[in-house]
């Protein structure tokens, strides 16, 4: 077969702007650095205390021994806080030109024009651009960066902050709690349905700089919100750490959908804790795409605390050369008649490794609850691997748990069929891959579906032949 050797592709978003940061802490993590972060942010005393307690917990907790390989992660070699510019921009015009240029390459203003209700784009550790449409304000929806929320809405923040994910939950939640910066805060009042998705873009732009954003979303009774988070990051020669915490509270009959496409460059450790609590008749949906990073460990969770609560995780993971996606979901059924669905789609290629790690837990009171779990893996070549590791903890006899797992390869006959209609081998493979992840992409807002397809196509280039 006549084939050209695939050319090595540079990471698509691997451009990297001159550093415009105005302040950064020294590398490494000490009590002084945590105090400095809090001081620069002008935080109230209670937040500083919270950070310092979390730091103690972080320092005491051992590294997790399961999941991906964290041996090369050196906590002393990371900058924990970088403040990019003097103030939070209120309109696009106020955003520094260089930062804008970066966003331009990522297509953010365009995305905004099309369907954004409010944008809060995080550049390095601080929100530099924040815009909220007037009608959202009229509805009483609070949407701002987390730092501002601490000052503007201290009562709400105090009531819910770290209630879903306490610092002691795991080592990386503790780390985030100590050094967090940026992230989004959303409060949707009772009965308010936000029709357009709220969005934020995040990226890491300083070598060895960790990004520790902290997001808190509260959806009150009968309310609805769809939050979309997209991540792209430039390429660097040394390892970066992204360790976010996302906490969501969905009250009675409320619904929250949280969509992420993670495309960190292939040197980033992406260690994220995402968890939601759903009360009676509430619905929580995580739509979670993991394409980039060196190692991702992420298991979006829904704790169903009230009767008939619903949880959904729909995820895809793509692992290429040198990548390990250790991702999955946790569904915790604590009340009667809860239902949960996990659909996990994984693709490994070029020696990449994908692991589905999932927990289905049924508490004593989970009478009549149901969980349906489906894990599909597509392996593109002989170098690549996949694992499925389901954990079930069942303390009630009257529940239903279905688990289905498939592993498939792109078959010779499928390729032959598509190629016999004129598609090249690369186009045919891409088509099969796109079809495989279609159940995921069809759930994305259109703009994201387009971006997602673009990313996958890009990922597939050079892996064929």
């Amino acid at each position: 077969m006549a084939k050209k050797a695939p050319e090595l592709q540079e990471y698509q978003y691997g451009f990297h702007d001159k550093d415009v940061s105005v302040f950064r802490t020294k590398k490494g993590l000490t009590r002084e650095i945590v105090e400095e972060i809090s001081r620069i942010k002008g935080e109230p005393e209670w937040m500083l205390e919270f950070r310092l307690k979390a730091l103690d917990i972080f320092l005491k907790m051992p590294m997790p021994k399961w999941g991906g390989n964290l041996d090369d992660l050196n906590f002393d070699d990371i900058t924990y806080y970088v403040k990019p510019s003097e103030k939070t921009g209120r309109s696009w015009d106020e955003v520094p030109e260089e930062i804008k240029a970066t966003f331009d390459k990522l297509g953010i203003p365009e995305a905004e024009q099309k369907f954004l209700a409010g944008v809060s784009a995080q550049y390095e550790s601080e929100v530099v651009y924040h815009n909220m449409q007037e009608d959202l304000e009229k509805l009483g929806v609070l949407f701002c960066d987390m730092d501002s929320a601490v000052k503007l809405y201290p009562d709400i923040v105090k009531e819910y902050f770290a209630t879903v994910i306490p610092p002691a939950d795991n080592k990386f939640a503790a780390l985030n709690s100590a050094v967090w910066s940026g992230g989004s805060f959303i409060y949707v009042p009772k009965g308010v349905k936000v029709e357009t998705p709220l969005q934020a873009y995040f990226r890491i732009n300083s070598e060895n700089m960790g990004q520790f954003e902290r997001t808190l979303i509260i959806v009150d009774e009968d309310a609805f919100v769809h939050y979309v988070e997209g991540c792209t990051a430039p390429i660097y020669s040394t390892d970066s750490l992204h360790s976010a915490v996302v906490e969501i509270i969905v009250k009675e009959r409320g619904r929250c959908r949280y969509t992420t496409i993670q495309n960190w460059s292939n040197n980033v450790y992406n260690l994220v804790t995402k968890r939601a609590v759903a009360y009676a008749d509430a619905t929580m949906e995580w739509i979670d795409g993991n394409i980039g990073s060196k190692l991702t460990m992420k298991y979006p969770a829904v704790i169903m605390k009230g009767p008939r609560a619903k949880g959904t995780v729909l995820s895809i993971a793509v692992a290429g050369k040198g990548q390990h996606q250790d991702a999955g979901a946790k569904m915790v059924h604590l009340a009667p008649d809860c239902t949960s669905t996990i659909i996990s789609k994984s693709i490994s290629r070029d020696g990449g490794k994908v692991t589905y790690r999932g927990l289905a837990q049924f508490g004593r009171k989970s009478e009549g609850s149901k969980s349906n779990i489906k894990c599909d893996t597509l392996i593109l070549d002989k170098l690549s691997t996949s694992d499925t590791i389901p954990y079930n903890e069942i303390m009630n006899d009257n529940i239903t748990l279905e688990h289905e797992a498939t592993v498939s390869k792109v078959s010779e006959d499928q390729l032959f069929y598509l190629m016999s209609r004129g598609l090249s081998e690369a186009e045919a493979t891409e088509m099969i891959v796109m079809g495989f992840i279609e159940p995921f992409t069809k759930e994305l807002p259109m703009e994201y579906a387009v971006e997602m397809n673009r990313l996958i196509k890009f990922e597939m280039e050079g892996s064929i032949g």
Binding site: M1, A2, S411, E412, D413, Q414, F416, Y417, L418, M419, S420, R421, G422, L423, S424, E425, E427, A428, M431, I432, M434, G435, F436, I437, E438, P439
Partner: protein
Amino acid sequence: MTAVPHLQIKNLRAKIEDKEILKGLTLEIKGGEVHAIMGPNGTGKSTLASTLMGHPKYEVTEGEVILNGENLLEMEVDERARAGLFLAMQYPSEISGVTNSDFLRSAINARRGEGNEISLMKFIRELDKKMKTLEMDESFAHRYLNEGFSGGEKKRNEILQMMMLEPKICILDEIDSGLDIDALKVVANGVNEMRSPERGFLIITHYQRLLNYIKPDFVHVMMQGRIVKSGGPELAERLEAEGYDWIKEELGIVDETVNANV
């Protein structure tokens, strides 16, 4: 390009793993002609179809296949398709998550090349028209490629692709298997509509039935991996009436399959 297509197969030998299946097959197809290849099971008919299209399972060991002066055997599967070859398959693959219409549009555009893509409106018009000819429900356009299709629906879908792609040489591999008489007529209509001096057909079938609806110009009988007898439409009729034994007798063949030691 209005050149009359010309496919020449010369002394073609092909094997799967270590087993030789095509044992020196020679055939010539020109635009405007319909050739039918008949023969009992296991004589290499479907292998011929797959080998011409370039299925990687089959290895050509000897012979030549020339399409319009170009060496087909040196081309990749997709290059053969873009050169004008089409194979309506006996067992088309299912591709989940890819709609029929998205697939067809990609396939058409792959042939037309970058910068010359078919307009969406034109594509939809053509698709609607051809689906009507084949009496296919509109919903087929939006269903995933062959997924959950019945045998008959898959066959119609193959013909739909052929009609949309407008190839130069069409190979139909047992397109009649699993079709009831009504579906057979519909499929035959689609094929007949495409007959033209600019297009040649190679129809592989077990049964003469299909040839009542698609009148062949030439009928060939395949045994032991090669063509052993050729004639006009009357040959098909005689095969339908008398079976294959008289040919075996005439040629002194005991075992007609490719397993025979010859």
